[in-house]
């Protein structure tokens, strides 16, 4: 922690955190992506993870969802120390993630991508099979609730537009998010209507007691739904603030790593 930050530390937890990460470090060969980051998520809160490009946000949430093993540091899940061997383990524990690269298979259909790894089945014994109708229906509904009308559920994901594809990933995570929902820049490719739907969805699942980790570069989006804000910079935490304790301009300043921004004409208000 540096001294000149305007951050207030988050208060002591009201409820016990679902996931708690302590002093996580992650090195790739000689590259140090995370140099000791601590973070926690509690049920029913939306915890925003903010920071400049390359700060290590995605790397951090990947250690949380079992993709990377941390080089150092501890992970506690519902109070118990835990080490996920694969994303599947994390998922089974109830963590659903929208990765920044979306983790979709372009050649497969929307429905198949939606249920990949957790297909509902019907029938039993040797006749156990995927419940294709239900899968298609769920997919179309999930997409529609995010504001996208798919032409058909069997369109290949590779032929979807950027925003449509992102919506599939979000709808999927929301559908399967049991205890923690991690969203890595979920709204980056979305239109205004879809964005507002996603923000509303975050609000909705939070009310159901799910903990949400929300990564964004958009200060306004973060402030609209976030309860707490943690800012990363160059692989380290700058600190955590609670909603209401920090102004948009201060937050934006921290996200930029404290560096000057280009001066812009036009209708940008205080925040980019």
């Amino acid at each position: 922690m540096t001294d000149d930050t305007k951050f207030h530390h988050g208060d002591a937890p009201e409820t016990a955190p679902i996931v708690e990460m302590k002093n996580i470090e992650k090195h790739f060969g000689n590259i140090i992506a995370l140099a000791g980051v601590s973070f926690d998520v509690r049920p029913g809160e939306c915890h925003c993870l903010l920071g400049d490009n390359g700060a290590g946000k995605s790397t951090f949430i990947k250690t949380m969802s079992g993709v990377h093993k941390p080089t150092k540091g501890e992970i506690h899940f519902e109070g118990r120390p835990m080490s996920f061997d694969s994303p599947r383990d994390a998922m089974e524990a109830g963590i659903a993630t929208v990765f920044q690269d979306l983790a979709m298979i372009p050649l497969m259909s929307v429905t198949r991508n939606f249920f990949m790894g957790r297909e509902p089945t019907k029938g039993s014994g040797p006749f156990k099979r995927m419940d294709v109708d239900r899968m298609n229906q769920t997919t179309m509904d999930g997409m529609r609730s995010m504001g996208i009308n798919l032409r058909a559920p069997d369109q290949a994901v590779g032929t979807l537009s950027g925003g449509e594809r992102q919506t599939v990933a979000i709808a999927r995570a929301v559908h399967f998010g049991a205890k923690v929902l991690i969203l890595d820049e979920p709204t980056s490719a979305l239109g205004v209507r879809q964005t507002s739907n996603v923000l509303a969805t975050i609000d909705k699942v939070r009310k159901q007691g799910i903990g949400v980790v929300f990564i964004s570069h958009n200060v306004r989006h973060a402030l609209a739904v976030g309860d707490r804000f943690t800012v990363l910079n160059r692989g380290k935490t700058l600190g955590t603030a609670k909603r209401g304790d920090i102004s948009p301009e201060e937050l934006q300043d921290l996200m930029a790593g404290g560096q000057e921004m280009a001066q812009l004409e036009g209708s940008l208000g205080g925040t980019v």
């Binding site: 993709v67 994303p87 993630t97 979306l102 298979i105 372009p106």
Partner: protein, 369 residues
């Protein structure tokens, strides 16, 4: 605003699509055009004997043996890996099976499961090394291509005391109740009945020219149906496509990629074992060269059938038709009057034309580009 009905059932952004176009979009059916083209070609150029019942069974038999391997190879390719050791696996599990029956005198009910178990173990070893080392499966299974082929030779010499051929399987399994499931012809009674009524050609002595449907064709069809069911209708099928499409993305989405891939290696090895058992029982013997280059032909058939070498795309039915095309072309030339020196030129040319035609038809019908 034009669009005020988000739940609208008819989307104005879709043109209507012909039935043919919808059919041809399925990778399963891509290879059908090739089958038709090749059939027409031989109808014109070949001796009519090729398309009598006995002629058809004659080219379907090697096609079925190849096809069983090709379906295994296709599933593995869809899952994003190769297995170059299946040809050698045919020789090796053939040796294992023959030694079990002849040298150790096991009954089939023991020998056959043992052979499958053993092959699956070798397959899983393949898969395990690929997964653990992260090396391309090409190079790992290539090593097993050599190793298994070499071990077959060594094992044969050991089992026979110096020869490269182990025989006597037919005597050893004589009368075993399991034998008809893995060798000989199915529906023999039906064919005889048909022959009596003149529906099947007969020899002068009245015996039907075709004693029955060779059992490998039955297996071929069953396996193709089974593989299609698994690929299209079960979660495992979804995982196979995902693992091959992008192993990373699949893992991140919770697909147990390692388990899927190792299972696929085992399935492929079992397909090889099945072919080995069938051919060894039919021939009554095995030798060190069995299955030579079959890995290659299996991959060819799978690719003709529309599998992508890069994984994540393809179908079992495609491999089914691919094997038929390949079998038909290989055997077909013998029925034509062409000079046999031209065999390879012809084989290559036909393969090329068949896949080009497939492709052209598909593009045409689906309006791609």
């Amino acid at each position: 605003m034009t669009d005020t009905t988000p739940q609208a059932v008819v989307d104005e952004r879709l043109k209507s699509e012909s039935f043919g176009a919808r059919l041809m979009k399925r990778p399963e059916l891509g290879a059908i055009a090739g089958v038709i083209l090749v059939t027409i070609f031989f109808l014109i150029t070949a001796d009519p004997a090729m398309f009598t019942l006995s002629g058809i069974i004659n080219f379907m038999t090697p096609a079925a043996q190849l096809g069983i391997l090709a379906i295994g190879a296709a599933m593995l390719m869809i899952g994003g890996e190769f297995d170059l050791s299946i040809g050698s696996m045919v020789a090796f599990s053939g040796l294992f099976f023959a030694a079990a029956t002849v040298t150790f005198g096991m009954p089939l009910i023991v020998a056959i499961p043992a052979t499958f178990l053993f092959s699956a173990a070798v397959g899983s070893l393949n898969g395990f090394i690929v997964i653990r080392s992260g090396l391309p499966s090409f190079i790992v299974t290539l090593a097993f291509l050599f190793i298994l082929r070499g071990l077959s030779l060594v094992g044969l010499k050991l089992a026979t005391g110096g020869s490269t051929q182990l025989r006597g399987v037919r005597d050893a399994i004589e009368g075993d109740w399991l034998a008809p499931i893995f060798s000989g012809d199915a529906f023999g009674g039906m064919f005889a009945w048909l022959a009596e009524r003149g529906l099947v050609e007969t020899f002068n002595n009245g015996a039907p020219k075709v004693p029955g449907l060779p059992i490998e064709i039955v297996w071929f069809v069953i396996i193709a149906l089974l593989a299609t069911w698994v690929l299209l209708r079960t979660p495992a099928g979804n995982w196979i496509f995902a693992a091959g499409g992008d192993a990373n993305a699949a893992t991140n989405s919770g697909v147990p990629v390692r388990r899927v891939k190792i299972s696929l290696f085992m399935v492929t090895a079992c397909c090889a074992a099945l072919v080995a058992i069938i051919t060894v029982m039919d021939a009554g013997s095995t030798d060190a060269r069995r299955g030579f280059q079959k890995e290659f032909e299996a991959i060819i058939a799978a690719v003709i059938g529309g599998c992508l070498l890069t994984g994540g795309y393809g179908s079992a039915v495609g491999a089914f038709f691919g094997a038929i095309i390949f079998g038909m072309v290989v055997i077909g030339l013998t029925y034509t009057g062409f000079d046999q020196d031209w065999f390879q030129v012809f084989l290559g040319g036909m393969l090329l034309i068949a896949v080009l035609f497939n492709n052209a038809i598909r593009k045409r019908v689906t309006g791609e580009r």
